[in-house]
């Protein structure tokens, strides 16, 4: 098991290098100048040049690249050009918010998505099926920023249940939870839609299997057939989807974080990009890529728990 985990983590290194290289190149192709972001539009060309030297941006691209690459593997992600704080510190400040939001989004997705998916599969082609399918399609195609504003208008402005600015004090758990509700629901809506659809198709396949018919014929109660016999076997593709979309979810959180003004990795990436804060952007991408790799690994390991056949392999 440990060997497998280490092997998988080892495989992540070339992925990380590829991601780092791509990020490094792409951000430098897009025009923009961090020195101007710092000094503003009244700065003279001389002042800008001096600051670029101070920021280490006047050395060759290759030198910058290798400094960044070796630094990363030494665990030094550099310093933010704008705030002057270590990149790792910047990431760690916002990481708990992203973790809260992502986990809450996934939990909402699973809690609502799996039962709804089962329901639509069991009652396929019924009115219930059609209604849920239409809603899940709606959830998939509804822009996150729009649903966020709707949620704010209803639950913050109309009912004053939740704050518009979702920026809690992390040590105050009550506040943390209250500030989490609307962003999590917003993000969870997409996850519910994804999980409902994949649960439905996976369940439909399993429900057609012979052993399900046999169980039914044997007189096993319907609920037991659905939950123990069918759902358990339909879980593997669902776990895959959850694993896959967990990555997507972190990306999707950008819009949610912006509308709710919630600190987080997504917002950090966007800020770093608009300010041309190269080290911060590179650092966040490293962390982001690492998280995706770990999430994929966890997904693979989860198969073992869901399906003993995978564990034995």
């Amino acid at each position: 098991m440990l060997k497998y985990v280490l092997k998988r983590l080892g495989m992540a290194i070339p992925i990380l290098i590829a991601v780092l290289t791509l990020v490094f190149i792409i951000i430098r192709i897009v025009p923009g100048d961090p020195a101007m972001v710092v000094l503003g539009d009244q700065a003279s060309a001389e002042a800008l040049a001096a600051l670029r030297t101070k920021m280490g941006l006047d050395v060759s691209m290759l030198e910058q690249y290798f400094t960044f690459l070796f630094g990363t593997f030494r665990g030094d992600l550099g310093t933010s050009l704008l705030s002057g704080r270590p990149v790792l510190g910047e990431v760690m400040t916002v990481l708990p918010y992203t973790i809260d939001l992502t986990i809450a989004g996934v939990v909402i997705g699973i809690v609502f998505g799996v039962p709804l998916g089962v329901l639509t599969a069991v009652y396929r082609n019924s009115v219930t099926d059609y209604i849920i399918r239409v809603f899940s399609l709606f959830g998939l195609s509804f822009p996150a920023f729009y649903s966020a504003i709707l949620l704010i208008l209803i639950f913050s402005i109309q009912f004053s249940w939740f704050p518009v600015i979702s920026d809690p004090d992390l040590s105050n758990y009550g506040q943390r939870l209250r500030h989490l509700v609307l962003p999590a629901v917003n993000l969870g809506l997409i996850m519910v839609a994804y999980i409902t659809r994949s649960t439905r198709s996976s369940m439909l396949e399993v429900l057609r299997e012979d052993y399900v018919r046999t169980a039914k014929a044997k007189g096993v109660p319907r609920l037991v057939v659905i939950t123990r016999h069918a759902l358990k076997n339909a879980l593997i593709p669902i776990v895959t989807v959850i694993g896959l979309y967990l990555g997507v979810l972190i990306g999707n959180s950008v819009l949610t974080e912006i509308v709710f003004n919630r600190p987080g990795l997504g917002k950090l990436i966007l800020d770093a990009l608009s300010e041309r804060d190269y080290p911060l952007l590179q650092g966040v991408m490293v962390i982001y890529a690492f998280i995706i790799v770990v999430v994929n690994l966890i997904t693979d390991l989860t198969y073992g728990f869901v399906d003993p056949r995978v564990k034995n392999q």
Binding site: P31, V38, Q42, A43, S83, I157, I258, N261
Partner: protein, 519 residues
């Protein structure tokens, strides 16, 4: 089944915890919650940052030797700040300031003395530590005859010495001890003498200021200011409506202003001095080398239509290449009246009877992009087609400084003296692409003599005359088309009272001081 019950209990407990946190505790302290633009502070060092989100904070934290009367940006209404009195020699080259005694810096950094003033002005004139250094180039010496007296000697007269020591940019007085002790950290831990003291900076979230109870004009009535970075306009407005914010940076649109005004609990402040939106025509590129083509563009622009589009309350028609209200601006200049027929005739005369196509790079930021789209429609009527390339804001700034755009629509507010605007936008030293470049996008060089002579002219009347000639020459040469002045919009809760009439501000935001309170 037992598991399910457990889950239900957890869910119920979560709701209870949630519910408990609804009842927010009642605080006796008076907290002003502000939602500002942008996603983060840039640098909280007043000598370095020229960014709006930072500039707004500086007059709350720092003082100058003198200051603009709160709510104004008029050089004629300057009053004492850290200096209680001042005098100048007849030739205007020697200035002596008498400081107030006992003014304390925040955070226990001691009394503000002449030593701090000398340090601050020297720091402001050093290009390593200040972006305002060019304005202090003619300071020959800054000395202290005693602990509370500062003597400034100029190498030659400058447009407004008082302007250079006011509560703006390089004029802010910082604590010498704090800068030396904090070093690079000063930019996130500013120490001044103002009504509010810096308390905490949370990256990409907020800055907290607390009342300076020892403020020399009296303790502020507001105890704390929470200045939040909320880049999204919609959520800023929603948080304001939900009572989470008391004062917000508004959207500079007529519709928004009218909508907010309808709410009885809200007051909208439209603040000058405006940002002048100017269309700079790059005379080093293609057909624009021909003055007739540039003049055709000037004739094709319809200022009245533009102001009507942007909104009568939030925009005003430009009067010159220098914004109105600046010392030295003149409306006695040749502005070309909208005349499409003349524009077409000029194009034909220049050899373009079928019209021209120009490449224009524009930011995706709406306050510039939308007016550029209006201009595109206006110019099309005269046969001038604009090939717009919309880019990200940071890329826009970089590309326009590389001479990559035929036309540059730019909005800017500067220190309200004609010299600052003329020097940065129309002096040949400031042409983009040169080592001393600032923002001369048009490559205009027709008024160098007047701009440079006016800067050190001791006679105010002659100085005004030179600035007027400079403005006339720039427009005659059709270097640019000044279009409209965009005003700044803020919305506040009706019970928030500044304590004075808020008309103009150089900081892009309202002045919050010891007089500001909740009614």
């Amino acid at each position: 089944m037992r598991q399910r019950k457990g889950l239900f209990c957890i869910f119920l407990a979560a709701i209870v915890v949630c519910g408990l946190s609804f009842s927010s505790p009642v605080f006796a302290e008076s907290v002003l919650k502000i939602g500002t633009l942008s996603n983060d502070a840039n640098q909280l060092d007043p000598h370095i940052s020229t960014k709006s989100q930072d500039k707004i904070l500086f007059p709350w934290i720092f003082n100058g030797l003198v200051r603009f009367k709160p709510g104004t940006a008029d050089l004629k209404q300057i009053e004492g700040d850290l200096a209680k009195s001042w005098e100048s020699s007849k030739d205007g080259l020697t200035w002596t300031f008498k400081l107030r005694k006992g003014v304390q810096f925040h955070g226990g950094y001691g009394e503000c003395t002449a030593e701090d003033v000398i340090f601050s002005l020297n720091r402001a004139s050093n290009k390593e530590t200040s972006t305002a250094y060019k304005g202090y180039g003619d300071f020959a010496s800054v000395t202290a005859p005693d602990k509370y007296t500062v003597k400034i000697v100029l190498a030659k007269p400058i447009p407004s010495l008082l302007g250079m020591v006011t509560n703006y940019h390089g004029g802010y007085i910082v604590s010498k001890k704090a800068v030396e002790k904090l070093g690079d950290n000063f930019k996130t831990n500013p120490i001044g003498t103002g009504p509010f003291a810096f308390s905490e900076y949370q990256s990409k979230r907020q800055v907290t200021l607390v009342a300076n109870k020892d403020y020399f004009r009296g303790a502020p009535k507001i105890d704390k200011i929470i200045y939040r970075y909320l880049p999204d306009e919609a959520s800023r407005e929603l948080a304001f409506k939900n009572g989470e914010l008391d004062l917000i940076y508004g959207t500079r649109e007529q519709r928004w202003v009218e909508r907010m005004r309808k709410d009885k609990g809200t007051k909208v402040d439209i603040i000058g001095l405006g940002e002048l939106r100017t269309l700079h025509m790059n005379a080093s590129r293609g057909p624009l080398k021909d003055i007739r083509v540039r003049r055709a563009i000037a004739y094709a622009v319809n200022r009245d239509e533009m102001v009507a589009f942007v909104g009568q309350d939030v925009a005003q028609r430009s009067v010159s290449v220098v914004p109105r209200g600046y010392l030295g601006y003149s409306s006695d200049v040749p502005l070309y009246k909208h005349d499409v027929a003349k524009a077409k005739a000029l194009l034909k005369e220049a050899g373009y009877p079928k019209g021209i196509t120009l490449k224009v790079i524009i930011t995706k930021v709406a306050s510039l992009r939308v007016p550029m789209e209006v201009l595109q429609a206006q110019l099309r009527k005269a046969g001038i087609n604009l090939d717009l390339e919309v880019v990200e804001h940071s890329a826009f700034h970089k590309l326009i400084r590389q001479d990559a755009s035929d036309l540059v629509l730019y909005g800017a507010a500067r220190f309200p003296v004609a010299d600052s605007y003329l020097t940065q936008f129309y002096l040949s030293d400031s042409i983009v692409g040169t080592p001393t470049a600032i923002t001369n996008f048009s490559h205009c060089d027709v008024a160098d003599n007047e701009i440079n002579t006016a800067r050190s002219e001791a006679d105010p009347a002659k100085q005004l005359a030179l600035w007027k000639i400079a403005q006339q020459k720039i427009l005659k040469q059709s270097c640019t088309v000044p279009i409209f002045e965009q005003l700044i919009v803020w919305a506040r809760k009706a019970n928030l009272d500044y304590g004075f009439k808020m008309e103009n501000s150089l900081s892009n935001g309202p002045i919050i001081n010891e007089m500001t309170s909740f009614k």
